[in-house]
Symmetry: C2
């Protein structure tokens, strides 16, 4: 690992949702040693997009208003396209997509169960929060993939997700129900912790807590900052 | 209505699933008078594709085997694309897609509830049977639409639906479970009647039973023949 790439900094607890008092220098982190191998990376990323598709299409079915169904089903379609793009990448390499995804089945199905909210608005926020965080995370990891796969996958994951349409639906719902905002803000906070655990599970960690935290923390700080911006876009406190 | 287009024939009961003793001449039918107006046609067709997308994506989520999830989610994606294509057609004409679909909400949501089977295999057969029948029906009706909309919609509805992949999944399930075939055959029979009622609801009927049946029956005979071929492809008796 190129040491000039890393600067020493204290390990901190994760997830960290409030700004801390101590100002920190911006760091760039080499994830080289923590990078998952290519096939598990693709398998997990493909499964997460499938899960995102399943969550969003369930919400599209539950939302009764046709004006809400349309952007939500469109977002489901985008997640399905990303899933299919990663599956195509696995096939192109001669790998069996189902075999590559299978090791993540139990974890992701368990995660998926946590995303089901008390109503479709909560579940839609789940899709927005977890989809946004995990897309960002896997795009970030893509930089460490061998050959030309990384840029292709980063481009695919960064392509249209229908997030704007979903934000509009949620904004309209929050505007129409004065109690919904605080309920969703609380729900969003719960989701972040679970989602960061999924992200963390993708990495090869050393088991040395201080080293691992030092490596992961700057990335998670970025992810949380992007998450906070998404919640801000809903007028919600992250 | 051009009378040479029609030949007199006795009215019969619908749906008719068994061959009848009396041989009948092949007839072509002018649906002109029974044709729905353009916007209701597009609204109902768009809603039915949305419903098909919702049913298939629910099944994709319920199927645990990743090798089944893939073709089923792909079929869901095709239904979503068709839905979006019809919605785009409405927008292009300056019509509000949600307003065009809304009149069909109660009927289609009720229909959708009938499609939920005892397990995902039954629900998948529902999607195959109703999707196939209704696509065929709306393609048939498209010939009566004004201007160049008809050919465009017929092309869209006739485009890839992922039916082959769904058939393969069902064939594998039937092969693995000796009792499943007869259960699905029975389930398929129940679905046809409900689906033909939805098709029938799209038409402007005169209220004169004999005239209406004479007009509709040849089309429904065609639809049922195509349905029988789909069930045959599963080794099931329609």
């Amino acid at each position: 690992m190129s040491t000039w790439f890393i600067r020493r900094r204290p390990a901190v607890e994760l997830p960290r949702l409030t700004p801390r008092a101590r100002p920190v220098a911006t760091v760039r982190v080499d994830l080289h040693e923590a990078m998952p191998d290519l096939v598990p990376y693709l398998g997990q990323a493909a499964y997460l997009q499938l899960e995102q598709f399943e969550t969003l299409s369930r919400v599209a079915a539950e939302a009764e208003d046709l004006r809400a169904k349309e952007p939500i089903s469109a977002a489901a379609g985008h997640a399905l396209s990303k899933h299919q793009g990663i599956v195509a990448e696995l096939r192109r390499r001669g790998d069996d997509p189902a075999a590559a995804m299978q090791p993540f089945a139990a974890e992701i199905e368990g995660f998926s169960a946590l995303l089901v909210g008390a109503d479709w608005r909560e579940t839609l926020l789940s899709a927005l929060v977890t989809g946004g965080l995990l897309d960002d995370f896997f795009i970030r990891l893509a930089g460490g993939l061998p050959g030309d796969v990384g840029p292709r996958i980063a481009h695919l994951l960064g392509s249209e997700s229908g997030q704007e349409g979903v934000l509009e639906v949620l904004r309209a719902e929050i505007g129409a129900d004065p109690l919904l905002g605080s309920r969703l803000a609380m729900w969003g906070r719960r989701l972040v912790g679970d989602t960061l655990l999924v992200a963390r599970s993708a990495l090869h960690l050393s088991g040395n807590r201080a080293t691992d935290e030092e490596r992961i923390e700057p990335i998670f700080t970025e992810l949380i900052a992007a998450h906070t911006r998404r919640m801000d876009a809903l007028g919600l406190t992250a």
